[in-house]
């Protein structure tokens, strides 16, 4: 104990309150600035615009990337910010896909109405299942989300009269977006539409994670036991974010239906949930951009690897995942952050 007196040489005189606050000012400034857009973000969002002109032949793939990115964003909201692990997130994606498809089949082919309908129904689905999912700890959550997704898959499989079963939903078609932009054969409208929706919902999510609500989600993820002790209603917050995450996934599913004019059972498949978890972990959780980057890396790797070796591409994908998880913690985004720190240190070194 006597050792500690060396550490206690700090002047015992209390700094005046004002001085204390000004000492905290850099931290306060950092907190205020956290929500501001970084120049790298503008660059990031210029990429999908540039891609439209650079890869006109690949717009179908690019649309898939945008849609999957939105899906990944929805998982990052619940996993990365609130710490709810899900192995059945495709349940909401698929539900949204079917809602949009069924709306169009039954004469409501307006795309934006389809998104809204999908968001509403999946939000309700998220709200109801949240009470099951939030009951247990991680393993329980994994099992419950998996179970719910399996049930939904089988239900869609059995209800052929409504869903078309294994043959998929036939006769899906949509009116032009806002009555102006029809879906074309080259997938131009589809791509721009997907990116626009992705950006709008990203922007919303970005606001949310920087708000007090978002901060409380990070609090829940980092120390769920402490949160009630500072007066936070943890369960209600988790219900809210799970519901929102479900709605985001539903919109992603609806986008897939609308841009491909088709719904098949594989929107609900386990594979989709598992891949999504892989994408989000690959990209790095809890930063939103990690989910987007993870999607791009995964989908592009998937595309290139399956071109090179159509039979064994999953091997390399698996290898990539193992390498990332073992050697680059926090995924791609973690790497970006480390790089950023190194650069900042270089700059700071001169000062």
């Amino acid at each position: 104990m006597s050792l500690s007196s060396a550490g206690g040489t700090r002047s015992p005189s209390a700094p005046s309150s004002a001085a204390g606050i000004s000492a905290a000012a850099p931290a306060a400034r950092a907190l205020r600035g956290a929500a501001r857009w970084h120049w790298a973000e503008y660059v990031f969002w210029a990429v999908p615009v540039a891609a439209y002109f650079l890869f006109p032949e690949n717009l179908v793939l690019l649309s898939q990337i945008a849609i999957t990115a939105l899906f990944a964003l929805s998982l990052d909201l619940i996993l990365g910010y609130a710490g709810i692990i899900s192995l059945g997130h495709a349940a909401f994606f698929g539900l949204g896909a079917y809602v949009a498809g069924l709306m169009s089949v039954h004469g409501w082919g307006d795309p934006l109405a389809g998104l809204a309908g999908a968001a509403l129904v999946t939000a309700l689905g998220g709200l109801v299942t949240s009470f099951l999912v939030l009951r247990g700890a991680d393993l329980t959550r994994l099992m419950v989300t998996l179970g719910v997704a399996m049930m939904l898959y089988e239900a869609a499989n059995k209800l052929t009269a409504i869903t078309g079963g294994v043959d998929g939903l036939q006769g899906v078609s949509f009116t032009p977006i806002l009555g102006l932009f029809g879906f074309d054969l080259y997938g131009r409208t589809a791509y721009l539409y997907s990116v626009a929706v992705l950006f709008a919902l990203f922007w919303l999510a970005r606001r949310l994670v920087h708000s007090p609500f978002g901060l409380s989600l990070r609090g829940i993820r980092q120390n769920v036991v402490r949160m009630p002790a500072i007066g936070a209603p943890v369960h209600a917050r988790l219900v809210a974010i799970y519901t929102l995450g479900a709605a985001y996934a539903g919109v992603a599913g609806a986008l897939l239906t609308q841009t491909t004019q088709f719904v098949s059972l594989d929107v609900l498949a386990f594979n989709r949930s598992a891949e999504l978890l892989l994408i989000v972990v690959l990209g790095g959780t809890g930063s939103l951009y990690g989910a987007l980057l993870g999607t791009v890396v995964f989908m592009v790797a998937h595309h290139l690897l399956s071109d090179i070796n159509p039979n064994y591409w999953q091997f390399w994908l698996g290898a990539l995942l193992v390498v990332i998880v073992l050697f680059a913690r926090d995924g791609v985004m973690g790497g970006v952050r480390r790089l950023n720190r190194v650069i900042a240190r270089r700059k700071g070194g001169k000062a």
Partner: protein, 264 residues
């Protein structure tokens, strides 16, 4: 009982009860960690709870705050039965604790942590549109709490990068951010280097009188300097409760607890 009746006149605090338990029982399987505990903490009190390791002090705090559900009995906060309220609902009514072992937000900066707690108290926890930084008053309040705890210079540091002793101050800062009416401090100086624990207790002693404090502490010097009233818990049951002078002379207390510490 005899002693406590005698000394009641010496009590410096008013008669209103801030926090009270009635017949509180907690069983872990067959083990009784709290047995029929009836404790009263007066409004504005500087009340200490002492007892040997494993006496059930932390368990009692857990029961008071709703961290644990009692097997029987009631918790009454300012006349209101809060036994069945959730933890966060009790916090909103002013019943706030710190933890014996830090429970912090490791990856947040010190300022973020305390701002989070301030936001929750101010009822901003559902605000999802404006960024945290736009809530200037909450930020200023968090800054004041950090200044009070001499944490301003590390406000921008991540909690995990601080020494345990300084993290201990954040533990208290989070509780203060909730504006406690009744503050339960579970060994606040545990793990704090000896040189710094005095400063920590000075901070606690400076808290305004409106804040009722129940303190769990092992250092008898600190307890006797701080407390106006002491409850002794042994084996899950209250042994006695009185003013410090009487507790110091109580043979039973010396026997079970003070023995080696009384000399200090």
């Amino acid at each position: 009982m005899f002693f406590s009746a005698l000394s009641a006149s010496k009590a410096v605090f008013g008669m209103t009860v801030a926090l009270e338990t009635r017949g509180l029982v907690k069983k872990f399987g067959g083990f009784v960690a709290a047995s029929d505990v009836a404790i009263r903490v007066a409004e504005g009190a500087r009340h200490a709870l002492i007892g040997p390791n494993g006496a059930g002090k932390t368990t009692l705090v857990d029961l008071l705050t709703g961290f644990l559900e009692p097997s029987a009995g009631e918790v009454i906060l300012k006349g209101e039965n809060v036994t069945h309220l959730a933890q966060h609902q009790r916090v909103r009514r002013g019943l706030v604790r710190t933890f014996q072992i830090n429970r912090l937000f490791a990856d947040m900066t010190v300022l973020e942590s305390v701002t989070l707690a301030v936001c929750e108290r101010r009822g901003l926890g559902w605000r999802w549109w404006r960024p945290v930084g736009a809530f200037t008053e909450a930020l200023d309040e968090a800054g004041e709490i950090l200044a009070m705890l001499h944490l301003s210079d590390v406000a921008h540091e991540r909690t995990r990068n601080l020494a345990y002793g300084r993290q201990r101050l954040i533990e208290i800062g989070l509780a203060l951010a909730a504006r406690p009416r009744v503050l339960l401090l579970d060994e606040p100086a545990a793990g704090v280097p000896a040189g710094q624990s005095r400063a920590l207790f000075e901070t606690i002693a400076r808290l305004p009188r409106e804040v009722t404090i129940l303190l769990i502490e092992h250092d008898m010097d600190l307890v006797f300097r701080f407390a106006e009233r002491i409850s002794v818990l042994v084996g899950g049951a209250l042994l006695t409760e009185d003013v410090p002078e009487v507790i110091a002379r109580d043979a039973r207390v010396r026997e079970v607890y003070l023995g080696e510490a009384a000399g200090g």
